[in-house]
């Protein structure tokens, strides 16, 4: 058969969002790929220049529809660096709980999308079932199911609700049991193994050269987790260890990337359980919103020439925010907001990974990198 270009996307089951992957195929074999991003570019960075520091949180929530909390927190740490705010320790613990719950929910969303990518719908329904528990917990914290707008500059919006720790512990305990169900339907299925093992090799060195980070690079055996390498917040006080896979000689395959995320969900759940125990003041006490124990006073304006920066372990990799204060001329708004999206860097590399494999491997490989187009196109 002659070679031909197939345009997958923007509306296509493989894309996990809205973007186009142009694939050149020779029969069933992929010969060349060309990712085409920018379909849902909203200009978030520009919009943020006309918002004050609290309003920007809302926009950062909308950067990724699967992982809203991590993005608003990534922003809030940069804003606190810019405005030089000291955050109460209890607020940091509450943030950690919110971020890790969101990480579990995001990974569950990924696994739920990955199962239909390799042809099984049951796994998706099971994953969404557990994601619902995480959503309920996050809803208790933020008041909303998807875009929580939870962090504030200097702390968090609300304290843990009364009884939250009890419910959280029970649900996470159940969740830790149920991870075994996914492993039963995925790891013990020969068909899943032949679909994911030995497919979509990605080498650690190449990924580092491209700037790929997060679970994708940890799957290749490179132990780089921002929470571990450069601990921020309370991550150095918790009892945990980043999940790193043993890749094959040819690099990490789809199965490695699946394993590393399942392990990471476990680690996150244990981290939350540990954090609830270590929370200053106890997880069962409740402070009114605005209490100094959970929210420090923060200035509304940043001086000119002052910059704030933070790099953050997002569910998909290392996200960075760079803020420049604008002084009196800009009022309460920043002068410039710059966002580093991990997926914007990963997707071109993932598209390169699938050359030489079959068409049926495209969703398996692309899905294994966990693309999220909201943050990619910003």
């Amino acid at each position: 058969m002659a070679e031909m270009w197939i345009s997958m996307g923007p509306q296509h089951p493989m894309t996990h969002g809205l973007w186009t992957l142009k694939v050149k195929v020779d029969g069933e074999t992929v010969v060349d790929t060309e990712p085409d991003l920018g379909y849902i570019h909203r200009g978030v960075e520009k919009i943020c220049e006309a918002r004050d520091f609290t309003q920007i949180t809302t926009y950062c929530d909308r950067l990724c529809y699967a992982s809203a909390n991590t993005w608003s927190h990534a922003y809030i740490y940069a804003a606190e660096d810019l405005l030089e705010v000291e955050v109460p320790e209890r607020a940091e613990y509450i943030r950690m709980v919110a971020i890790e719950l969101q990480r579990i929910a995001s990974h569950l969303m990924w696994l739920g999308a990955y199962c239909p990518d390799v042809g099984n719908l049951t796994g998706m329904v099971w994953c969404l079932r557990e994601r619902e528990m995480m959503m309920d917990l996050l809803q208790e914290l933020g008041g909303s199911r998807m875009h929580y707008n939870f962090p504030r500059v200097g702390g968090v919006k609300r304290d843990l609700p009364i009884g939250f720790a009890l419910r959280c512990r029970a649900k996470l305990k159940l969740f830790l049991d149920r991870i075994q169900e996914y492993e039963a339907i995925l790891d013990e299925s020969t068909i899943f193994l032949v679909r994911t093992q030995g497919v979509g090799y990605a080498k650690a060195e190449e990924m580092i050269n491209h700037g790929v980070s997060g679970p994708n690079v940890r799957a290749a055996g490179h132990n780089y987790d921002v929470r571990w390498a450069h601990p921020y917040s309370v991550y150095d006080e918790l009892d945990w260890e980043p999940s790193v896979e043993r890749p094959s000689i040819k690099g990490s395959d789809c199965y490695d990337r699946y394993r590393v995320r399942v392990e990471e969900m476990r680690q996150s759940a244990l981290m939350i359980l540990d954090g609830l125990d270590k929370m200053p003041g106890g997880a069962d006490t409740y402070h009114e919103p605005g209490d100094p124990a959970i929210l420090a006073k923060a200035p509304a304006r940043a001086a000119e020439g002052q910059t704030g920066y933070h790099h953050f372990e997002d569910s998909r990799g290392e996200s960075m925010f760079y803020l420049a204060g604008g002084g009196e001329g800009r009022g309460k708004h920043p002068y410039r907001v710059s966002i580093r999206s991990p997926m914007f860097i990963t997707i071109p590399y993932a598209a390169k990974c699938m050359i030489g494999y079959k068409i049926a491997d495209i969703p398996a490989i692309m899905g294994s990198f966990d693309p999220c187009i909201g943050e990619t196109d910003r």
């Binding site: 069933e28 042809g119 619902e132 193994l193 055996g221 490179h222």
Partner: protein, 481 residues
């Protein structure tokens, strides 16, 4: 064999004889009396078989919907059964048995109470999500969801028929007819009872297999003529897959034919009645192979590459819509139904009731009911595969077909030939019961041994079966400040 209480063909023939004699027989064309009665009988039987198949097809669709819902909502097959008496949150699942009219469910309620006492759960009260707490709150005597398919069909009927501008219009229009017509034609030779069939020719299995393999041609036509890259790929995948699986299918069916000594479906079932055991106990491997091949033939998960929705949108039928899509959808399920019925006839004794000799009362159950029950039972496996398995890649499908199924089906043919030549040779009337017992137990033992695919050496070395050798992990904590 002829003691079915439901002698449908005989009754229809008698009624038509009566009608014919009193109309044609009294006119000057009296010499056509017999022919007219014959023609009317054939026609009515065709309509009845087709009507029976189409009506019971609703059961199939309904079963798929309900079973899949159970598999996905709950925790797999084991807990699916358990969820009948206990809901996920410890509450009994809707207590539907109490809502049945005239109270036949009361004993069920008592059993449920008993089961809840020793196998209920009470420790996960808090942690349940809203998703899994589905239950039906309507009326149960309407069979919830059963008539949904009729509503879907009505919706398809009202849809506009569109042909893509660049499509080859003639082939595009003819392909659905090819698929649907040949699928319906399969049921001509699938009997629903010893006297409930539309036609019974000497070589019915041969014709059945021939007609069954015409539909892939229509699929290929549909994929190519749509002039769409996805449909083209789907059509070509379908052609490759069905070619690879047609040969093992024919060889397996040939082994059944050899064992039974006939190309006629009804005689195959008669052989199973005479030999005293169903073919599944004589050809256990053949029955498993037949099931696998049939899943591939009807293109269901794990072998649904031609319509893999993850990469090919909807495969070869992407461009179809309206009632053409609806009928092709129905024909896909009809093919599945045909596969289930064929499995029931070839391996499960067709309409033969289990333990017919030891339990004489069981013969009172109409034979057609056994056919349907066995076919529906087989359909459970199709749904189970769909719920539990993933989609296999094209090259893996072809490799599996050529490398495993074809040699195994040939081995199966040899086994059937040996059985025919030395055991069921038609000379010895007292056929030994020891042979099926031996074959079944040996096969079961082999199956269990081969199913335990844990490789202790691989576990020890931490290597993985389908990947190249793994290297050691970077030591954790080396990047910590």
């Amino acid at each position: 064999m002829t003691d079915d209480i439901l002698d449908m063909r005989g009754w229809v023939r008698a009624a038509m004889d009566f009608v014919s004699e009193n109309t044609i027989g009294m006119s000057r064309h009296w010499e056509y009396t017999d022919s007219v009665a014959w023609f009317l009988t054939e026609f009515i039987m065709c309509v009845m078989v087709f009507g029976g198949i189409m009506t019971t097809l609703l059961v199939l669709l309904w079963m798929e919907r309900k079973l899949l819902g159970r598999f996905m909502d709950r925790r797999g097959a084991r807990t699916s059964l358990r969820s009948l008496w206990v809901g996920e949150n410890g509450v009994t699942a809707g207590e539907w048995w109490n809502q049945l009219p005239f109270g036949p469910g009361v004993p069920g309620g008592m059993v449920n109470k008993l089961l809840n006492e020793f196998a209920g759960n009470d420790h996960e009260l808090e942690a349940v999500s809203r998703v899994q707490n589905r239950s039906y709150h309507g009326v149960w005597w309407l069979l919830p969801g059963f008539f949904q398919n009729l509503a879907d069909g009505m919706k398809f009927l009202t849809k506009e028929h569109m042909v893509p501008e660049k499509a080859d219009r003639f082939v595009f229009e003819i392909a659905p007819f090819l698929i649907i017509a040949t699928t319906v034609m399969c049921f001509t030779f699938i009997p629903l009872g010893p006297h409930f069939y539309s036609n019974n020719s000497e070589m019915s299995i041969l014709f059945l297999m021939a007609v069954f393999s015409v539909a892939p041609l229509g699929v290929f036509f549909a994929g190519w003529s749509s002039n769409n890259k996805y449909t083209l790929l789907g059509g070509i995948r379908s052609a490759a897959q069905l070619t690879a699986y047609e040969i093992p299918l024919l060889v397996i069916v040939l082994s059944v034919v050899v064992l039974s000594g006939s190309f006629n479906v009804i005689e195959v079932i008669e052989f199973q009645a005479d030999s005293g055991v169903w073919n599944i106990f004589l050809l256990p491997m053949g029955s498993v192979l037949f099931l696998v091949v049939m899943v591939a033939e009807v293109e269901r998960i794990p072998f649904d590459m031609p319509e893999a929705e993850a990469e090919l949108v909807e495969g070869w039928w992407t461009e179809y819509g309206g009632m053409r899509w609806g009928l092709m959808f129905a024909s896909e399920y009809l093919r599945t139904y045909a596969a289930c019925l064929l499995f029931a006839h070839f391996f499960l004794g067709g309409w033969e009731a289990p333990f017919e000799d030891t339990l004489p009362l069981i013969g009172l159950v109409p034979h057609i009911l056994w056919v349907f029950l066995k076919a529906w039972f087989m359909f459970i496996f199709f749904v189970w595969f769909r719920a539990a398995l993933h989609r296999v890649r094209t090259d893996q499908i072809l490799e599996f077909g050529w490398r495993w199924l074809l040699p195994l089906s040939l081995v199966n043919l040899v086994m059937a030939t040996v059985l025919r030549l030395w055991v069921y040779d038609g000379v010895n009337e007292e056929w030994p019961i020891l042979v099926p017992i031996l074959i079944t137990s040996i096969s079961l033992a082999l199956f269990i041994l081969l199913s335990i695919d844990e490789d202790p050496e691989a576990l020890e070395a931490q290597t993985r079966p389908f990947s190249v050798q793994t290297v050691d992990v970077a030591s954790p904590g080396q990047h910590r400040k």
